[in-house]
């Protein structure tokens, strides 16, 4: 069971004032749950549905539509590596090999120590600094193999 803390409920209630219809709060609420619990478990989806009076199956249908919602547990830090055309041209796919060798990471996999999870992104809008990645909410561009390792060392 998801333990609902008061803070989450209040946050969602605040969001409700931004819309005329509480259904619109669905994506924001999913974001909040993902932030609080790391991922969207079936219980979390159910809880969101209950708070917003949306059937849980509908919540599931919506949340699985969006690539940025995670439906399995993720590590402490989420590496979102872009491999779309611009990054691919500048060697984004080679960075994959680095992550594989250094941390045993594969797309959609979490390291056993639960430190990193990796997802492949479709263009994160940093093509001018390709290849680029987002770690949690920080952009990092102009990456090379060494640079990636340096950067990641700061995320424990």
């Amino acid at each position: 069971m998801v333990v609902l803390n008061q803070k989450v409920l209040e946050e969602i209630n605040r969001i409700k004032s931004k819309y005329h219809d509480s259904r619109s709060c669905l994506l924001p609420a999913l974001y909040i749950f993902q932030r609080e619990y790391g991922w969207l478990s079936p219980e979390a989806l159910e809880a969101v549905g209950e708070i917003l009076n949306i059937p849980k199956a509908t919540v599931k249908g919506v949340s699985t539509f969006y690539a940025m919602f995670s439906h399995k547990p993720t590590g402490r830090h989420l590496i979102q590596l872009c491999t779309n055309v611009a990054c691919m041209l500048m060697g984004g796919e080679r960075l994959l090999d680095v992550l594989r060798e250094q941390y045993g990471l594969e797309p959609n996999i979490t390291t056993p120590d639960n430190r990193f999870s990796l997802v492949i992104m479709e263009c994160i809008g940093a093509c001018d600094t390709a290849p680029a990645m987002l770690v949690d909410t920080d952009f990092h561009g102009n990456l090379t193999g060494e640079k990636v390792i340096d950067i990641l060392e700061k995320y424990k």
Binding site: P42, E46, P55, A57, T58, G61, T64, F65
Partner: protein, 862 residues
């Protein structure tokens, strides 16, 4: 007027419809997969692409509206190419397993592929694989076959309002599944099965033994479960009923069904069905021949009549009996036995409620078209969950809600939780007080129209109950109540839906009066929920101890003599006993012979021990039923009866719509009316019927409310009250209605302890459902629902087992926590074993004569 050209044919239409509709109206076929008339246009499958002059792109006919002068072509080379392309796309991931797919022969994709499809596929990349899911008791999902038309999801969400299914993921990973991914845990209406164009969602009941081309006959009939009376098709092979399916667009249900109608028919082929009469010999029920059983009954009834008088004999009819059977039954009791001791399950709640409202507003006041509900601008539901009791009517409530009508619920309604603006669950006394309070507040906001001065006097005379007092007593916030009053007062044409829980309390008569006042003040239409297919018919047929057919009081001499003259029989002038009085009289030894037609009294009435004692006490008990029910086990003679699919007859639904039930298969047994006429003949009254039509003709002759109906009218299903617009009984007799002393009710209310109330359960409807393995498989475990607070106080988790104890007994149930419940109420559904009636006692309400179930306090032992 809009004129367009389709395939060089000029078509003129009144309204701007879609190209698809326009084409269909002109008999031009355009293939579709994702389109369904009762669903909103979607435009996903792209099979319906057509060419429109001056538009470079092909347009989807199902979404594109016509405009003046549009020139459409549906069979050009380009269009056919497009169809072939789309079909090829659909087939790349579709397994070509038609040979063992149950849908073969009635699969849209198969048909389309035959007609337009490429002969061979060029796809060489390996198909999408998904294992078939058998996680569910009733519904099999094979998602490899899914074409993602989304009809099931739209049906589930937009029409059924259950929202149990969703499409998860997106793009080529899109996938249809219930929330759990496995079991549906839904309402099991099966309406998703109706619309699935391929073999992706199918009924698990006949997996791999269904082939559409083996269906030999189809019979259109009416469902045998509840008082809505949905049309359905019975599909038959040889003498077996293979399945029931709705006919899209047909009947008052327009092609929707509920779990009972769709899956519950399997009781017909239950191996426990009786196939021969049984006579008790040396204490045991032993098989006997029909002729022997019938003469035996006639002889014994005659003896008892001679020894103890006619009024020592009584008869009870079930709401599953047809109008014809019920009519003959009451005629037999009145004419051949000579007693008015004739009653039915309708007297437990439906009858008294109707009688109360008709007394104030005139006959027929509850006979309203259920489609009116979805057009109302507000709904008030009280005393039962329409989505559980009359599911297809319940859909109308949801549909109204979707259109923006506020729904206010008093009582527990699981299926309306997401749809109600306000919901008040209370114990029964508080319910009456709350109602009284709403009426006294609404009275202040609404002026009385002056249409019924006598009733208005009553309304004016009602004691005021301030919302504050009601709020204090019920624990509901004052703001909520104030908003409820506003919500209700703002309704212009509301529907008021009344279930039986409101009637079956010791203050039920007061609640009915307040409800009548509410209906009058709000100008609402009243609907009575009816749990059985022919409750209304039983009342109309005169299966009441004080009413003759068509609801005419027996005590009014002119009615009685006219009836006697028409039928050539003598009718006793004193009213008989009603259902619960009969049981009480039997318990006291005053009823010597009891004839129960189709009803399981032990299951159907509260306080099982008391009822069993009463039945044991009857000298001669006859039970006619499909199964050896608990009641039948006490019988001296048991007669097997035919199921609804094995005989002809008519049902009258809760809208007072008369509909035909048709014989689809042969059963072991004899029609009730035949058996009874046979007995009647032995007792000296020859009724002389040769067929149900003879009986129906007599009903029409004697009953002014069925005036001029013919069998042909019934077949059309449009046979609704008032049939020929004839005059109704306007003689409203309000005098004698007592003004309730609600203030002393409040003063004397005993709010202590925890009350148990009944939860109307979708799958356990206390009738044939218990003999349907399909329905039984869905939620087999009996339970008690309680508030979070109560469960918390007792440290109970969901699913834990507890002993629920009352004065009448105790049962062990699993716990369901429900945050909507107040602390002083628990709910138990009427399961066969572990149901509420095992542990409740009743008192008789002095006014409605219905059994009152309030005051049953429970203790939960962990």
């Amino acid at each position: 007027m809009i004129t367009i050209t389709i395939n060089e044919k000029k078509i003129t239409l009144e309204k701007p419809v879609t190209i698809l509709e326009a084409a269909r109206s002109a008999g031009i076929h355009i293939p579709t997969l994702c389109h369904e008339d009762i669903l909103e246009p979607y435009g996903g499958c792209r099979l319906c692409l057509v060419e429109v002059e001056k538009v470079p792109r092909l347009l989807s006919a199902c979404t594109q509206y016509i405009t003046e002068g549009m020139v459409v072509r549906t069979e050009t080379e380009r269009v056919i190419e497009a169809r072939r392309a789309i079909l090829e796309f659909l087939l790349i991931n579709h397994p070509l397993d038609c040979s063992f797919c149950d849908k073969a022969g009635e699969c849209d994709l198969q048909d389309l592929a035959m007609k337009y499809g490429p002969a061979t596929g060029r796809f060489a990349e390996g198909k999408r694989k998904h294992p078939e899911s058998y996680d569910d008791p009733l519904i099999v999902r094979n998602m490899e076959r899914c074409v993602l038309c989304s009809k099931c999801v739209r049906m589930c969400e937009d029409v059924q309002g259950a929202s149990a299914l969703c499409i998860t993921n997106r793009g080529s990973k899109s996938y249809v599944e219930p929330f759990s991914g496995g079991r549906y845990n839904c309402e099991y209406c099966g309406n998703c099965l109706t619309v699935c164009p391929v073999g992706a969602i199918m009924s698990g009941l006949h997996r791999h033994d269904y082939r559409s081309w083996l269906i030999e006959r189809e019979v259109e009939t009416v469902c045998s479960y509840c008082g809505v009376g949905c049309s359905l098709l019975l599909q038959i092979r040889g003498n077996s009923l293979i399945r029931t399916v709705p006919k899209i667009g047909r009947g008052l249900n327009r092609g929707l069904l509920c779990s009972k109608g769709r899956f519950g028919y399997d009781y017909i082929s239950n191996s426990e069905r009786l196939d021969t009469p049984l006579i008790r010999r040396n204490g045991e029920l032993q098989p006997a021949a029909w002729s022997e059983a019938i003469t035996h009954i006639a002889r014994r009834l005659k003896e008892i009549k001679e020894n103890h008088g006619s009024d020592a004999i009584a008869g009870i009819v079930s709401g599953r009996c047809t109008n014809e059977d019920a009519y003959v039954f009451q005629k037999f009791f009145r004419g051949a036995i000579g007693t008015n001791n004739i009653d039915s399950v309708a007297s437990l709640a439906y009858g008294p409620a109707q009688r109360f409202f008709e007394r104030i507003f005139g006959q027929g006041v509850t006979a309203n078209d259920i489609h009116g509900i979805s057009n109302s601008d507000g709904i008030f539901v009280i005393g039962g969950d329409p989505t559980g009791i009359n599911p297809v009517l319940g859909l109308q409530v949801r549909s109204a809600c979707k259109k923006g009508a506020p729904v206010v619920v008093m009582g527990y309604a699981e299926g309306l939780k997401r749809f109600s603006k306000h919901a008040f669950i209370t114990n029964s006394t508080t319910e009456t007080v709350l109602l009284a309070s709403l009426v006294s507040e609404i009275k202040k906001k609404k002026s009385l129209p002056g249409e019924r001065p006598v009733f208005e006097e009553i309304i004016s005379g009602l004691q005021p109950v301030p919302l504050k007092d009601a709020s204090e007593m019920s624990g509901f916030g004052l703001n909520d109540l104030v908003d409820t009053v506003d919500t209700l007062s703002n309704m212009i044409n509301p529907s008021i839906i009344v279930g039986r829980d409101i009637v079956q309390t010791s203050t039920g008569h007061m609640s009915l009066l307040f409800l009548a006042a509410l209906a009058y003040l709000l100008n609402g239409r009243i609907y009575l929920l009816s749990e059985l297919p022919n409750e209304q018919g039983l009342l109309d047929m005169g299966c009441q101890p004080d009413m003759l057919p068509s609801g005419r009081p027996l005590t009014i001499e002119t009615f009685r003599t006219r009836c006697e003259e028409t039928l050539g029989i003598a009718i006793p002038s004193t009213p008989g006993l009603n259902y619960v009085e009969m049981i009480e009289a039997a318990h006291a030894g005053r009823i010597k012979a009891l004839y129960v037609m189709g009803e399981d009294t032990v299951q159907g009435l509260p306080d099982r021990n008391y009822v069993s004692d009463a039945l044991r006490n009857v000298e001669f008990l006859v039970v006619q039923d499909m199964f050896l029910t608990e009641t039948a086990q006490y019988a001296d003679v048991v007669l097997p009866s035919l199921s609804w699919a094995e005989k002809e007859g008519s049902y009258t639904n809760l809208e007072r719509r008369v509909q035909l039930t048709k014989k689809a298969v042969e059963g072991e047994g004899i029609e009730e009316w035949k058996i009874i006429s046979e007995m009647s003949k032995i007792l000296g009254l020859d009724m002389g019927y040769r067929s149900v039509t003879d009986i129906f003709t007599e009903i029409v002759r004697i009953s002014h409310i069925y005036r001029e109906i013919t069998y042909n009218d019934i077949t059309s299903g449009r046979c609704m009250w008032p049939y020929k617009g004839g005059p109704l009984r306007h003689d409203v007799h309000i005098e004698g209605i007592e003004l309730p002393d609600i203030v002393s009710v409040m003063k004397n209310a005993d709010e202590s302890g925890v009350q148990v109330r009944r939860e109307a359960h979708l799958f356990h409807s206390q009738n044939a459902s218990r003999y349907s393995p399909a329905l039984q498989s869905i939620s087999p475990e009996p339970y008690v629902k309680m508030s979070e607070t109560l469960a918390g106080r007792l440290s109970l988790r969901d699913g834990e087992h507890v002993k629920v104890v009352t004065e009448a007994g105790s049962i062990t149930l699993s716990v369901h926590r429900d945050p909507c419940l107040p602390e002083n109420v628990v709910l138990i559904p009427p399961f066969e074993k572990g149901g509420i009636f095992e542990i409740t006692k009743w008192k008789v309400n002095p006014v409605t004569k219905a059994p009152a179930l309030d005051g049953n306090r429970v203790i939960i032992e962990t």
